[in-house]
Symmetry: none
Subunit: 199 residues, 4 copies
DNA sequence: TCGTAAGCGAGACGGTACGTCGAGTCTTGCT
DNA sequence: AGCAAGACTCGACGTACCGTCTCGCTTACGA
């Protein structure tokens, strides 16, 4: 049996160690929590992972894409379809804030977002990851629109921004303390609007 | 203990050069735009400002407070009292976005915000500056509440977060492109709410 | 303990490639000329020889014995028996200097000799090779002594050192330029001595 | 008092530390003795000298010129004028061999000489140092020639090479063991010559 | 004739040292 | 006492080799 034409050759030489790969990502996340983005050193990651520096640089050009990939391991929104937009949003956001408080996410996300501006490479890597993580949120709005729960001409992107906006503000400009209890009034206000017209 | 009126500790020796002080802050802002927070070096600032490193460290304990002070030079919200909350918000936000597009703000703010989490020292310095810049926004909400334009039991902090949230999201997670045109639908949606029930 | 006559441990499996062996030695000599002892890397040898590193380490424990074996490929003194010590020496030395100017010898020999001191392993390997190369020279002195051309109580080792000494000095401390013309006065002076008393 | 016209400016900034300079050279010599040329690392020198690596690289481009300068600290021939060439040579050489056995000289000299071939930079630095160290030896021959102790048409360079040649051979090709007792027969043989004519 | 044991090129592995750069401090002579 | 300059120690950077270790693939022998 002829080998498939485009097997791009299993590449000669010893294959890269999946074990080392995972150890590096794990060590990266651990250290991000402990010392933060700017305190993270490749040397530290290597030593924590029990790995040579070259093994890291063989896979990632710098610590930026390494951190992006480590970040990619962290959970994002978990979709949730209750039949009600308000309920969907509240459950998803509460769950998400719990993730912030139990993983490195609240340490890693602002670092990456803040660096993005000055690092085109990071920007390119970060964009699709960031977009993917948002997907379940947009899906909830889509479902709500199909159910007629929100106007069909609404800008879903903007709506999503409105709902998660306060979280972003808290994350970047306030203490970073994200309490799940903040979700209910946040979602209620976003749905009801600020105006007094309906009061 | 009254110190002599005009002597506020004249201190012996040569007085510190105001010229150097400003040159350092200017150089810092320039370099923040060019290379970002993490790429900024005190050595670079000193050389750009034509100043010795010691002259910088004599005034700021490290590069963190230097950057915060440089950041403090950038303009924030400009208050605006038209008698209507919607109008106040739209004018203030539009003006603010123009500032983003014409100063170093869109480069500096995310860098600082992203680093804040991992740098307690920065966090402490950044917090009050950040709060002050928000003040005119909260004032507009206060006026609206007094006018009865919004419910009196509304959480003004949360309201402000809701309104600027989409800007924060755009700044940190989207291209960073902040167009003044995005303000009108943003404010309108925030005021009206997402729900269709009362549309 | 008789092992089967023709089986000197034929060992199963694929036999080692003589081709690779020679390619490695050749590459080693080439690189010794180009980059010297301290600049020589096993990786470089492997790549130049078109060979895997393991193939090298399978045959030589480290780069030291590899270099010594490569060095062993270079020619040494070529014996020459004319019946006269002066003539023997002049012909042998002239020939040897020609070898220096046409092979890697003048590059490799000083490198090895200089490293010998700090490398006991090299020292042990280098000693017998070095001794063997000297043999024809000592043989010429032996013959001269038997012929009565030189005093029978003379220390032949010392005599040999005296004759080749100026070459060593030139090789290690002067430009390394070894001209065959320098041989005649060198040998004449060594035979006649410096003292004027009997001139 | 006017400063001298051509003081090429005392150069601004903090002057280089003589203390560090000497500590580095001392550490270099110590380590050359302990681990040899090829085992010597700049990192090791820095740590032994209690100095940052940059302080070393600020003064020497690489470890080669550093070692050359450290080598320059070692004593060479000590001139000695007894009125007799044989006596001069014997005393100078004996003294020199003692130096070999009590300093790093026997470790450093072959390393440098061996590397010289492949390192033009080293070659350039090493040449004059090497020449200077030879000077007292040549001076002794000069005096002998003036006294008529040796023929006036003798090539002094060659004569010097003849006398120290056996030492060079021993240093580079034999165990490196240089016993002061070897001097007397060495000088006697060089002066008398190998030939039997006068036996 | 075929299995199997060793050799093969390739290249990843954990390390160590490289030479550079920046942090924050210190030491000049000058103002 | 502040100033520009620049050396100081320290520590991380990203690279290059070390000598070792898989990979998947020959190759030649002996059952």
């Amino acid at each position: 049996m002829a080998s498939p034409p485009n097997t791009t050759s299993t590449s000669a030489g010893r294959p890269r160690s999946e074990e080392a790969h995972q150890a590096i990502l794990d060590a990266t996340l651990e250290l991000l929590v402990e010392v933060g983005f700017s305190g993270l050193t490749v040397e530290g990651v290597a030593s924590r992972a029990g790995v040579g520096k070259a093994t890291i640089y063989r896979r990632w050009a710098s610590k930026i894409p390494l951190i992006v990939e480590a970040f990619g391991q962290l959970p994002g929104f978990e979709d949730c379809d209750t039949g009600s937009l308000a309920e969907d949003l509240k459950q998803m956001l509460k769950r998400y804030l719990e993730v912030f408080n139990t993983t490195a996410l609240s340490a890693v996300l602002p670092s990456l977002a803040g660096e993005r501006f000055h690092n085109p490479e990071l920007s390119v890597l970060f964009e699709p990851v960031s977009k993917n993580r948002r997907q379940p949120l947009l899906a909830a709005f889509d479902r709500a629109r199909e159910r007629g729960e929100i106007p069909s001409d609404i800008d879903i992107e903007l709506a999503a921004d409105l709902v998660v906006g306060p979280i972003a503000v808290a994350l970047f400009f306030k203490g970073g303390r994200l309490k799940p209890e903040m979700v209910t009034p946040m979602v209620d206000l976003a749905l009801a609007g600020l105006g007094t017209t309906r009061a």
